[in-house]
């Protein structure tokens, strides 16, 4: 085998390996699209929190709507991974009695906004600040990200631990079913 062929072969092998390794890196955070209902729905705990623009939000004001409530932090990789899909979900639900909101855990608005502005699409739903992490404690959040789907009566009917692709048809179908109830 000549040196030239050997070099080409080695290059090809390295290229193949780099593709495979790139794939391995890409698969590090795989978002699920499964939404499993809680066996026994539980009433949501009301809260009032300010958002990144310092507007106050009272959760019980959303009664009559299906709400998607996401607990997250910028430091949490799967939280970052799933965030654009939350905005795509919001856009899919536009005009329907539904709401998407994300509750950040303990980070300041400046850090949150500098992260959000880099996203595509940029989230337009409220980002609430749970500075002392009291709301996540009351909602029994054991890890980030955790997302709840709340029915029109204010009951938590779905709970998802770990990153999700929220605009996946399987999850959208769940929400549309709740909207139709």
């Amino acid at each position: 085998m000549t040196n030239r062929i050997r070099t080409k072969l080695l290059t090809l092998i390295l290229l193949l390996f780099s593709i495979l390794m790139g794939d391995a890196y890409a698969q590090e955070i795989e978002l699920s699209h499964r939404a499993s209902p809680l066996k026994n729905p539980v009433p949501s705990v009301d809260f009032s929190l300010i958002d990144t623009d310092e507007n106050m939000h009272k959760f019980s004001d959303l009664r009559g709507k299906v709400a998607v409530v996401n607990f997250w932090a910028v430091w949490c990789p799967p939280c970052r991974e799933e965030m654009p899909s939350l905005e795509r979900l919001r856009r899919k639900l536009a005009g329907k009695p539904a709401a998407v909101l994300a509750i950040n855990q303990g980070e300041d608005a400046e850090r949150i906004l500098s992260y959000l502005w880099g996203l595509d699409p940029v989230p337009e739903f409220p980002i609430l600040l749970d500075q002392d992490m009291k709301v996540s404690s009351e909602w029994a959040v054991t890890g980030l990200p955790t997302t709840y789907i709340i029915d029109k009566q204010g009951n938590i009917v779905y709970r998802m631990i770990g990153g999700r692709e929220f605009d996946h048809p399987e999850i959208v179908k769940v929400i549309e079913k709740l909207l139709a109830e």
Partner: protein, 191 residues
């Protein structure tokens, strides 16, 4: 077909990593073994059971220090955490039934054969609260229920020197039935 391709890919990845990083000493009594990053400490051990998957990755003390510094922890607490062997632990429900696990039932076995309890989230939270730290995340939840599709990556901590090796005895419960597994040869990151 997809499983076959994945297997071939993983086999090649393992071959490449073992060849280029010289980490062939990692041992595991698991159903699958993979290493994601070709660095000295960044290896991964994993086990797949019916619906219950677990994967482990050693986290270096420097990464621990960086993470908790970023969360505003006081230096003494950061060093206290970094002094432990910290393992990134991923739990995933790939089945169709909910499962739960109880970290207080998990044990790690050292070379002398002794079984030890993990330092669990409740233990850390207690210490953090005593110091006025409100942060409640990063440590693997102690006794949660995972619904189908749920997964989490968090930390578990072991009172072992950096670089030490142990076997992890883990437990989970599906449909009221306890199941157990062992991952052998888990290696703590070096400082």
């Amino acid at each position: 077909m997809a499983d076959g391709i994945t297997l071939i890919r993983k086999t090649i990845q393992i071959f490449v990593l073992f060849t280029f990083s010289g980490l062939a000493t990692v041992q595991a009594e698991t159903q699958s073994l993979q290493q994601d990053k070709p660095t000295a400490e960044a290896w991964q051990l994993s086990a797949k059971h019916q619906g219950f998957n677990i994967a482990l990755t050693a986290i270096t003390p420097d990464r621990i220090r960086a993470f908790f510094t970023g969360r505003g922890f006081p230096p003494e607490m950061i060093e206290a955490i970094a002094s432990y062997c910290v393992i990134g632990t991923r739990i995933e429900n790939t089945g169709s039934l909910p499962f739960s696990y109880d970290l207080s039932k998990w044990r790690y076995q050292t070379a002398d054969g002794e079984l030890h309890k993990l330092k669990i989230k409740a233990d850390w939270i207690r210490e953090w609260r005593e110091q006025g730290i409100k942060f409640a995340f990063s440590q693997l939840a102690g006794n949660p229920t995972f619904l189908p599709g749920d997964w989490i990556s968090s930390m578990t901590t072991y009172k072992l020197p950096h670089g030490a090796t142990f076997d992890l005895h883990y437990q989970w419960n599906i449909n009221g039935k306890d199941n157990t597994g062992i991952i052998k040869g888990v290696k703590c990151a070096n400082d």
